[in-house]
Subunit: 368 residues, 2 copies
């Protein structure tokens, strides 16, 4: 791969030329362009939504108001599950979403977000940005639907979710009715769970009534706002099915090609800055949120090791089975897992041992 | 902290107003501004330098050529150790550097980069961005020198470095002549090492002649280019003195205030996008580089545990001693370590256990 060229033309599809660069230096000649961009999050998310709104606003500010992206909240123009198609057919120019919301179209959509026992936030993004992941996803998958993607922020490892009863081991998953999205549902189903498809708005009532026994959601800084701590007793760490949750903008390919290069750079830079910023927001505010959740009377527990170990086997079996029937899934899976294996050989030599050491040192110093 | 306001006005010093926003919508009224920005890296770094050049170039592209930042390589205008002062007195408008290069001015400069047994790349950035770290550093330290900072990329955990002889434990550090920069020199000195201040250009010859016994440098993707594998036998992982290396732009505060808001947004977004991108570059290419280093005949070893454990004690003693004599150091240290302790309580619950599990699973699958 010619990395330098990739950097300059990320997701541009080769349309950037010296001519457009020269043209963009003449600001008076630049067209006024207005895009409509729909978010997959509601405004009720508060500060996180505002951060995403700031990403959109900054594009207009950088281009002297000539390229503006009007932001709409979840479902305001089209339902979230229809957003990829709406971007592809030009109903909206772009959408901010998670690729895994579209695994109903093709399970390979999961790789844009992260898969169970795939990669953590840093390595998932490294695969997309410099490991050939973005190019592969755009070529093999997204282009079939008229869209391309621009990665923008991730959550880090999500929690295992909210449970009415304690989960002491694998056998406690048998018959457990759990709200779970994405490939996690496939994995947990093979472990005895009865996955329930429930929209976020109905989770609280379902847990309160006991219609379901458990629900996975996201990370403490978001979970706290759901108030699920009022209708459950346990909050489990290590939701291995969402080891990270990389988000992205889906962009209509034809509209992207028509943008002057300076507008593309503004979009890429604004979205790109949010990669580290969104994750930093989670890293800074998860612990305070978790402390408040604990103070409300919830017990925080680690997912039992036998569940994690069995989950890994089931996930690898699932990938093998899906690869056998879905050539696009297989192509992306094999590329993703080869990168994962190489990246973890490095990460486990140098990063994880220091994370373990410092984490233990901090824990010890608190006990004194 | 009003986080929303912080997001909108990062490092702006309150100068952004509705008036400048309105003005920036009139592109024809926007001034042509040219900045000179010096890098602390040389062009010989290759692709990484080019990525940094792209950050600069994109600012010009976003602003239709009206705000351009000419990039100079290390030492081209002023020596790297003089860059903070050169930015502060306006000799250059900005510089791309590591805060720790300036610990000769005040040891508190180390916190902008990361300190021994401080935080990993993600958490260091979270502290800066949303933990109040950037504001504290600018207020207590950088503003005294006429500069402010904008974080932009980090290396992740660095290697322990290159050694001519095997290090089996703490006693092997006694009298070891080692090239080491930053606070690591203070820590290793208290462990028996005789730190040597040697510019990067002289490391190779010093190791070849045996004038020094060891040298820490950076990460495999950069270290490989030094060819130190030709004049040493061992390459150690887990350089705890550089748990991460957060880089930043130092910017002259008066020049920043004079920028139209759209130009500031362009600089912030371009620099901000490189936070995740620079780290992703390292994460994607460290392992291939390490594999080539191993193929050249070098033995890769883990830093012995007794050295890491003793290093932690020595580091904590050093922080206490420096805090007692340096009130700015104490103020920033206490804030930094409180954030570290909270952040690791979360990270150790949810991220590290999954990193350990997947790392082990990958290692096992290779042995089959």
């Amino acid at each position: 791969m010619d990395r330098r060229n990739f950097v300059r033309n990320l997701a541009v599809g080769g349309a950037a030329t010296a001519a457009t660069t020269a043209a963009s230096a003449q600001s008076d000649n630049l067209p006024t362009i207005k895009w409509r961009v729909q978010n997959s999050y509601p405004k009720s998310l508060g500060e996180i939504y505002q951060l995403q709104q700031d990403v959109m606003d900054s594009i207009g500010q950088m281009t002297a108001g000539k390229f503006t992206c009007q932001f709409f909240q979840a479902n305001e123009i089209v339902p979230v599950p229809a957003m990829v198609n709406a971007v592809g057919n030009g109903t909206i120019e772009a959408a901010y979403s998670a690729s895994l919301f579209y695994i109903g179209i093709n399970k390979a959509f999961a790789f844009g977000t992260g898969v169970p026992f795939g990669m953590n936030a840093r390595l998932q993004y490294a695969w997309l940005r410099f490991g050939g992941g973005s190019e592969l996803l755009d070529k093999e998958l997204y282009s079939q639907y008229g869209v391309m993607h621009i990665p923008s922020s991730s959550t880090g490892a999500q929690m295992g979710g909210w449970f009415r009863k304690e989960i002491k081991g694998l056998k406690d998953l048998e018959g457990l009715k759990m709200r779970v999205a994405g490939l996690g549902g496939e994995i947990l189903s093979a472990m005895g769970v009865i996955p329930q498809m429930i929209p976020p708005s109905d989770i609280y009532t379902s847990l309160e009534k006991g219609t379901i026994d458990a629900a996975e959601y996201a990370i403490p800084v978001g979970d706290e706002k759901t108030n699920l701590q009022r209708v459950t007793k346990y909050y489990y760490t290590q939701g291995f099915w969402d080891y990270t949750n990389q988000l992205c903008f889906f962009v209509n390919r034809d509209h992207w090609k028509k943008l002057p290069e300076g507008y593309r750079k503004a979009f890429l830079a604004a979205a790109g800055a949010y990669n580290a910023d969104g994750l930093a927001y989670a890293d800074a505010f998860n612990m305070p949120a978790l402390q408040r959740i604990i103070a409300s009377g919830i017990q925080v527990k680690a997912m039992p090791q036998d569940i994690i170990a069995r989950g890994y086997e089931v996930a690898m079996d699932f990938y093998a089975a899906e690869s056998a029937r879905n050539p696009i899934f297989k192509k992306i899976h094999d590329h993703y897992m080869k990168f994962r294996d190489d990246a973890y050989r490095w990460y486990s030599l140098n990063e994880t041992p220091l994370d373990v050491f410092v984490g233990n040192a901090v824990a010890r110093s608190r006990k004194r």
